[in-house]
């Protein structure tokens, strides 16, 4: 099938299999390997990207479902080399260790703050329920979101 999509500000057209998942389209067709796969059940959120500004798990979206949409991956979050406040906060608060969940986690946090710019700790934890991290115990991820919200 013919697919047209804007990925990190660049419009592209590709011929894809109807069953191709968005995450594999981004990784294999677009070469954007920052988005990771961590499970098969849309439980872990490692594959989270922004689809027209809202976070989605790209392992449970068919590429063709994103026809005409604008997708932002971790590679497209910084502007002109300046890190997004959430990216900065993750470094300052040591919100990442192995880094595998990080691209999805950062985009989930961007989406969370877009919906709720001044969340409480409990709201942050609830909002990140669908994004798993095995390294940090979430402590510093929560700190990073609260810091970025300031």
């Amino acid at each position: 099938m013919e697919l047209t999509m804007t990925v990190n500000g660049q419009t592209r057209a590709d011929e894809v299999e109807p069953r191709l998942l968005l995450v594999h389209y981004l990784r294999d067709a677009c070469g954007l390997t920052g988005t990771n796969v961590g499970c098969d059940t849309s439980s872990c959120g490692a594959c989270t990207v922004l689809l027209d500004g809202e976070s989605v798990k790209s392992c449970t979206v068919l590429a063709v479902q994103a026809e005409g949409a604008a997708v932002t991956t971790i590679e497209g979050l910084a502007t002109d080399g300046v890190l997004h406040p959430v990216q900065q906060a993750f470094q300052q608060e040591h919100g990442l260790q192995c880094g595998y969940c990080t691209p999805g986690m950062v985009l989930a946090c961007v989406s969370l703050l877009a919906e709720n710019p001044s969340p409480t700790e409990a709201e942050v934890r609830h909002g990140l329920e669908g994004n798993l991290c095995r390294c940090t115990g979430y402590h510093n991820i929560v700190r990073a979101v609260l810091r970025a919200a300031q």
């Binding site: 299999e17 069953r19 191709l20 594999h24 990784r27 070469g31 390997t33 920052g34 988005t35 990771n36 796969v37 961590g38 499970c39 098969d40 059940t41 439980s43 872990c44 490692a46 971790i74 590679e75 979050l77 910084a78 890190l83 990216q87 993750f90 470094q91 300052q92 040591h94 990442l96 260790q97 192995c98 880094g99 595998y100 969940c101 990080t102 691209p103 950062v106 700790e121 409990a122 942050v124 934890r125 609830h126 990140l128 329920e129 669908g130 994004n131 798993l132 991290c133 095995r134 390294c135 940090t136 115990g137 979430y138 402590h139 510093n140 991820i141 929560v142 700190r143």
Partner: protein, 753 residues
């Protein structure tokens, strides 16, 4: 001013935050051009005889390059137990061909042009099974009625038993025995297993691995694939978490080298989460019987630990876990008489492997439960029983009955600090109020005091200074989240004055770093970091001589101005050479090697967990977690706290939520993150960390391991808190995890009594 001890943000973070790391499945290397995609066909039964495999439909499927079964593997020896000492007759085939021994065991390998074709074709491989009797529980395995390996004549992979002293508890006023289960859990690194490999025209195998130890992985490939030393080059890209589960290569990894050779083209593989939860292997998996005895005044006189270790279907690291458990049997306590024995048995479940703590959490959980049982029986505050039983601060170095030599410690101070930070007295008062009021939401307060064992062994490092004034540190450790790129640079910077941002850390490439022990067992800083320090000191001394030659000065007159990164001649500040100038002018490469070896260190700590237990619904909420985790001198508090956070979370998760479960037919019931209750952000509070640093004399950094400590302390603290909350209902013990159903049943059983 020293950079050590400061909160230095990680230099490796910008990459992870902007483009993401490069994990195995992300590697786009010309050597992997045209790589076939490998999909394993796995057993759907726990124990069965294979009566036929039909691959014809799969071979006709689009994109299929090859399908291999066990019959094809005629040139490899079967895989022996992973470590020496385990029953050597329990051999694992690369692909099961005679019988299968656990659900998820590889039976065939399909190679396709792309990933999606692999899933399609694997479905078309038809395997005929004749079911056999299944052994799932260790008690059944120990009966030796159904044998997984008939030729072995037993299911026992390891027995550590010097007999029991029948008089051990003879003089005790109180003796308590309990059977407790240290549940099976999934390490679940977010990056599951993956590997890729290619044979070069030179006959060498290049192997990309998500591993904690590249050099051991290289040696394993050489041995298992029957290759010449030097024929394997392992490259470790970024690794998405390991937690012990990526120590060494799994059979599915190593077999890729065989497939690539047989197929004549490079191959790659990445398992799905379901495959990972089914077949990567699980941790803990111990059943224990604890017996504790003493006097009613709170004196503990004797303790016995009996261990039944579930090895899973093939003996991997899990078979040896009881050795470490036994070593740490008596924990932080001064108990006159201690003994232990263990047996490891195979079952028709996925192999048991190392998982964060690997043998030590099991020891701590056992004795911390036992002490609470004792305290409850004699009606004494568990903190008071602990305080009077702890080894005193002047006891160190201290050699236990089990043969461990604790290097340094101050357990009573750790306990005092954590109790003060928790507001222990106030917590007990609040608990008393809720109990008196019959509040449906009861408060539970759980303690643990722990000591564990880390390091032991040796490690190497090398530093090279470049003409631009930067440097590269080569290390045999293998970080996968632990921040070595920052910490090792800090150590090198401390001695050389080269800014830590200008120092690159290289690891995990066996051609660049041929010798190394990797990262695991909380060994890295105390051995690998210390080796970097040794290399840096050697570098400074050799650079001093080189600078003296170039400046025609006496080496003794040369001073390294570490603030400026420049050697100057004493009394002549104008004469000098920066590292860049020195590297550019030096006749030989400006480099030095370092090595460090030491005995084990023993980190320790004390945890307080506070839980609210809804006695009407069984719901448990962890509301506070206060911890002292003393790992000696802290190099970078930011990173050390991060290690503590992650460890605490994983340990608490075992007590609260996580459990790998099998039904009686050996079918795994927790094969997705929807079924396996992996801990998420709302399940946990923010952690309250209390600082304490008791340096070890065993290395120049004064540092002990911190990777696993949090896990070891938190599991029993949380479990004890749940039991404590249920004390008014007569509950003395509750196995992990504290699921709502289990808690609710405990309350109901009490009501019926």
């Amino acid at each position: 001013m020293s950079i050590l001890g400061n909160r230095v943000v990680r230099v490796e973070d910008p990459k992870f935050l902007t483009t993401g790391g490069v994990y195995v499945d992300d590697v786009r290397d010309p050597r992997l051009a045209g790589a076939g995609w490998v999909t394993y066909v796995r057993s759907s039964l726990a124990a069965a005889r294979i009566t036929g495999i039909d691959t014809s439909a799969a071979l006709d499927s689009p994109g299929v390059l090859a399908v291999y079964t066990g019959a094809d593997v005629d040139d490899l020896e079967p895989i022996p137990p992973e470590v020496n000492g385990l029953n050597p007759t329990m051999l694992r085939p690369w692909l099961a061909h005679d019988v299968v021994r656990f659900v998820g065991e590889p039976v065939a390998a399909v190679v396709t042009v792309n990933r999606y074709q692999g899933e399609d074709a694997a479905e078309l491989v038809s395997v005929d099974y004749e079911p056999m009797p299944v052994v799932v529980r260790t008690a059944d395995a120990l009966r030796d009625e159904v044998l997984l390996f008939p030729d072995a004549g037993t299911n026992v992979a390891l027995r550590l038993d010097d007999g029991l002293d029948e008089t051990l508890f003879a003089d005790c006023e109180v003796v308590l025995t309990a059977d407790i289960v240290n549940s099976k859990v999934a390490p679940a690194p977010l990056e599951a297993r993956a590997a890729a490999c290619a044979w070069g025209n030179d006959g060498r195998l290049t192997f990309w691995a998500t591993t904690q130890n590249a050099q051991d992985s290289r040696d394993q490939l050489v041995e298992q694939l029957g290759l010449a030393p030097g024929a394997v080059h392992v490259i470790t890209p970024d690794v998405g978490g390991g937690f012990g589960a990526k120590f060494g290569l799994s059979p599915e990894d190593a077999f890729l080298g065989w497939i690539a050779r047989r197929l004549g083209r490079p191959v790659r593989w990445a398992e799905t989460r379901s495959e990972s939860l089914t077949a990567m292997g699980h941790g803990r998996a111990q059943e224990q019987t604890v017996t504790i005895g003493g006097r009613r005044d709170g004196t503990v006189l004797a303790y016995r630990l009996e261990i039944r270790q579930d090895v899973g279907a093939y003996p991997r690291m899990g078979g040896m876990l009881p050795e470490l458990t036994r070593l740490m049997t008596s924990g932080v306590y001064d108990i006159a008489r201690v003994e232990s024995r263990a047996v490891s048995v195979v079952t028709n479940t996925a192999p048991t492997i190392a998982y964060r703590g690997a043998g030590r959490p099991e020891a701590t959980a056992a004795i911390e439960r036992a002490v609470d049982l004792f305290a409850a029986e004699i009606g004494m505050d568990p903190a008071a029983v602990r305080r009077r039983t702890l080894l005193p601060a002047d006891a160190f170095p201290y050699t236990t009955a089990g043969g461990a030599t604790y290097d340094s410690g101050d357990y009573a101070t750790a306990l005092d600090r954590v109790l003060a930070a928790a507001g222990y007295t106030e917590l007990r008062a609040e608990q008393a109020r809720r109990r008196a009021a019959g509040d449906p939401v009861q408060l539970g307060i759980g303690l643990s005091v722990y000591v564990e064992v880390t390091g032991s062994g040796d490690e190497v490092a090398r530093i090279v200074v470049h003409a631009d004034g930067g440097a590269t540190v080569h290390t045999g450790t293998s970080p996968h989240g632990q921040g070595h790129a920052t910490s090792w640079a800090m150590i090198a910077s401390e001695h050389t004055g080269i800014p830590h941002e200008r120092i690159t850390v290289l690891h995990g490439d066996t051609d660049e770093v041929p010798v190394g022990g990797g990262t695991g067992g909380s060994r890295s800083l105390q051995l690998g970091g210390a080796a970097v320090g040794e290399a840096a000191l050697t570098l400074v001394e050799s650079a001093r001589k080189t600078a003296a030659d170039l400046l025609e000065a006496d080496p003794g007159d040369l001073v390294l101005d570490r603030g400026a990164g420049r050697f100057t001649v004493a009394g002549d500040p104008g004469a000098g050479l920066t590292w860049a100038q020195l590297a550019a002018a030096a006749p030989e490469p400006l480099a030095a090697a370092g090595a460090f070896a030491a005995e084990a260190t023993y980190p320790f700590g004390a945890h307080v967990a506070v839980v609210e237990v809804d006695t009407e619904s069984g719901q448990v909420r962890l509301t506070r977690m206060i911890t002292v985790d003393d790992a000696g001198r802290v190099l970078n508090p930011l990173i050390v706290e991060g290690q503590r956070h992650g460890g605490i979370a994983q340990g608490a998760a075992q007590a609260l939520l996580e459990e790998v479960r099998y039904d009686d037919d050996g079918n795994p019931l927790t094969t997705t993150f929807a079924d396996y209750a992996i801990v998420s952000a709302p399940d946990l509070p923010s952690f309250e960390l209390v600082a304490m640093e008791t340096p070890t004399p065993l290395n120049p950094l004064g540092a002990k391991g911190i990777g696993e400590a949090g896990t070891i302390g938190s599991t029993p603290a949380v479990q004890n808190a749940v039991v404590d909350a249920l004390a008014p209902f007569g509950v003395r013990h509750l196995d992990m995890p504290a699921s709502p159903e289990r808690v609710w049943r405990a309350v109901q059983n009490a009501a019926e009594r």
